[in-house]
């Protein structure tokens, strides 16, 4: 997995609540057997009209935000399905960090498996960053995972929480499966015990 240490970039504002996984990547793009190439279809139905032309008003179509690396959004971001195609599309577009008041559980997990940092902050702080993001390409926001801080374009610092294990994995770019293999002996003994206690499983 790609490491996440520091990020300095333009933040795109999406002041909507309940941005669901069907919005992030509509189902017609789930018919792939690869993880890559989904960025062009990120937010497809909001981003393109029926003829496949860009809708100029949509934030990621605006010149200031075409290279956005951060997304600032409303409550309950990523609600809906478990499709990992959602973080794959976000990452493939070039976004490495999503900031919102809250995230749906499965989406939140999926981000960490793909080198994306989801940051949950109180509404007032998200509002502040949303205002900053509205300033466009000249307002770069900095994120430092090690120190768990966000620096706004005005130099204001906001700290954020992150699960220590997930932070460690992101900083080091660690492969979960490799880590779990190190606990194979514990899994073996669980299976032996379980076979005796719950043989019907």
């Amino acid at each position: 997995m790609e490491k996440f240490e520091k990020l300095s970039g333009v933040a795109a504002p999406m002041p909507m609540i309940n941005i669901d996984t069907d919005m992030i990547i509509p189902k017609q793009f789930l018919k792939t057997i690869k993880r890559s190439g989904l960025g062009v279809n990120l937010f497809d139905e909001m981003r393109y009209d029926d003829n496949g032309e860009e809708i100029p008003d949509f934030v990621l179509n605006q010149p200031a935000y075409r290279d956005a690396q951060i997304l600032v959004a409303g409550d309950n971001f990523g609600c809906g399905s478990s499709r990992e195609h959602a973080p794959w599309a976000i990452k493939d577009f070039g976004i490495r960090c999503v900031i919102a008041p809250s995230f749906a559980d499965i989406f939140h997990n999926n981000c960490f498996k793909n080198g994306i940092l989801p940051i949950a902050l109180p509404q007032e702080q998200v509002d502040l960053l949303m205002d900053d993001a509205q300033k466009g390409a000249n307002a770069r926001i900095e994120i430092d995972l090690e120190s768990q801080t966000i620096t706004t374009s005005d130099g204001e610092t906001i700290s954020f929480d992150v699960d220590p294990f997930k932070k460690h994995c992101l900083l080091e770019g660690l492969d979960d499966i490799g880590l779990t293999y190190e606990k194979s002996a514990a899994i073996d003994s669980f299976e032996t015990r379980s076979a005796a206690e719950r043989p019907w499983v």
């Binding site: 018919k31 609600c79 478990s82 990992e84 559980d105 979960d176 019907w200 499983v201």
Partner: protein
């Protein structure tokens, strides 16, 4: 020993390892797999030279992409990309030796209907699947939730999942339901109450007399939509109904193993003085037949209500409600029962079981659907379809003017050819009314099978109680 919730008990029974920072490794008893979220996981294993650790605990079935028309054996009914996904599952299942129900098997169906039907899902188990509606299996008192593809790969490789424990929420539905009110109305009403983020960070246990009174099918409907309330999982403590449902299923234990299992299953309940982080109580008598009006499952109202205005809401919901009203083409103040529909879809992992079809048939018997309406019933599995035919339900549907389809996810998420056109309005028994969910520009109203059947007859959203 300190008192525990049902969730605590299942968690403790599956804990392989707990790190100092609270990160846990949880053993997975059943891993369900479908064609959309698994190909990258199998490919990941292959690339890393890893093997499926427990093929015997892994069950696969194609459901999302498969056509539901009677001619689906003809490969031309599938688009090439859909066919590639289904073929990839065929190949991956064969190569890894996992249990598999191909499209041609009568037992094929929606993964969350096949699992319980075949006895793979049992009380006290941990069940995962690369699909958010895995919550369905919680109806058996199994800890069941959706995972992403990276986690699918992790479970295939290690039969475990890295987890943080969730908090405990109790949702109690007291008393009795009124006539015309179903499990779907319960689960939608709860989401309307808590909001789609109300369950975030929690595992919900549903309890109370109205939940106890539900059949296993109804309980699956309730737990299925726990994810729509944001919860990691929904649970219902197993009881005699659960044991009765499981007994004799192909993969349920038999003989002495059954007795041993039963003895353990009977310990699976929340202790009286267990700690709850959040409690919600709703009176069963207060629940009405409901429909959704917007583009979030929390946009729930009784069928007797009118379309709300954006100004009825506060905060971020004002903008969201306006966007929903625009998308749905609805005018505030319009009685919901005057909203005309174009399509009816009865099916999905929420409401594609035999009891759902019986409820629809009870309304449709001897009636015709409104002229010009498109209406389809998609059973949740080949076995549900066969049973409905045996009970004469299929004849009722066909005579009423419904299309009687083969099993699959179908128009719930419209990955197969069953889709809405822009502006088309649908009465649906599925679980999500998101923008574009059933097809770009399509408008979805969620409701129970009986309500969807009533809407099919009148051509508008309808109070089923007027037809009982």
């Amino acid at each position: 020993m300190s008192p525990k919730t049902l969730y605590d008990k299942i968690w403790d029974a599956h804990l392989v390892h707990e790190a100092e920072d609270g990160t846990c490794l949880l053993y997975i008893d059943r891993h369900l797999v479908h064609e959309v979220t698994s190909p990258q996981a199998f490919e990941g294993l292959r690339m890393a030279g890893r093997k499926v650790r427990a093929p015997d605990k892994t069950i696969a079935v194609p459901d999302h992409n498969v056509p539901t028309t009677l001619d689906r054996a003809n490969a031309a009914t599938m688009t090439e990309d859909s066919r590639i996904q289904v073929e990839a599952l065929d190949r991956n299942a064969k190569e890894t030796g996992i249990h598999y129900y191909p499209v041609s098997d009568v037992r094929q169906g929606i993964v969350h209907i096949v699992g319980p039907e075949q006895g793979w899902t049992l009380p006290g188990m941990t069940v995962v699947c690369g699909d958010s509606h895995t919550a369905t299996h919680g109806a058996f008192g199994a800890l069941a939730h959706g995972i992403g593809t990276s986690e699918v790969e992790h479970v295939l490789a290690t039969q475990t999942l890295i987890q943080q424990k969730s908090k405990n929420m109790k949702v109690e539905i007291t008393g009795k339901l009124s006539p015309g009110v179903t499990a779907k109305d319960i689960t939608l009403t709860v989401i309307g109450e808590t909001g789609t983020a109300g369950g975030t960070g929690y595992v919900i246990e549903y309890c109370g007399e109205a939940i106890r009174d539900l059949s296993m099918e109804g309980r699956m409907t309730v737990c299925n939509m726990a994810i729509e309330g944001g919860a990691r999982a929904g649970l219902i403590a197993p009881d005699e109904k659960t044991f009765e449902y499981c007994k004799g299923r192909p993969h349920a234990p038999k003989g002495a193993a059954w007795e041993a299992a039963l003895a353990w299953w009977k310990t699976l309940y929340s202790d009286d003085d267990a700690h709850w982080d959040k409690v919600i109580t709703i009176r069963g008598e207060d629940i009405a037949p409901v429909v959704t009006w917007g583009t979030s499952p929390e946009d729930v109202l009784p069928i007797t209500a009118s379309v709300p205005a954006a100004s009825d809401f506060t905060g971020g919901k004002v903008g969201a409600a306006q966007r929903s009203l625009d998308y749905m083409g609805l005018t505030p103040g319009t009685p919901l029962s005057e909203v005309e529909i174009d399509t009816v879809f009865i099916g999905s992992c929420t409401n594609g079981r035999i009891e759902d079809l019986r409820a629809a048939a009870a309304i449709l018997k001897g009636k015709k659907i409104k002229e010009g309406l498109r209406a389809m019933i998609v059973p949740g599995s080949g076995l549900v379809r066969a049973q409905a035919e045996e009970e004469g339900l299929a004849d009722i549907f066909i005579e009423a003017g419904f299309e009687w389809r083969l099993a699959g996810c179908s128009m719930c998420l419209a990955m197969n050819p069953d889709q809405l056109s822009p502006g088309e309005r649908c009465a649906a028994t599925s679980n999500r009314n998101f923008e574009g969910r059933q097809g770009r520009g399509g408008r979805t109203h969620l409701m129970s099978p009986a309500m969807a059947a009533a809407a099919a007859v009148t051509g508008r959203l309808t109070d089923v109680r007027d037809m009982m």
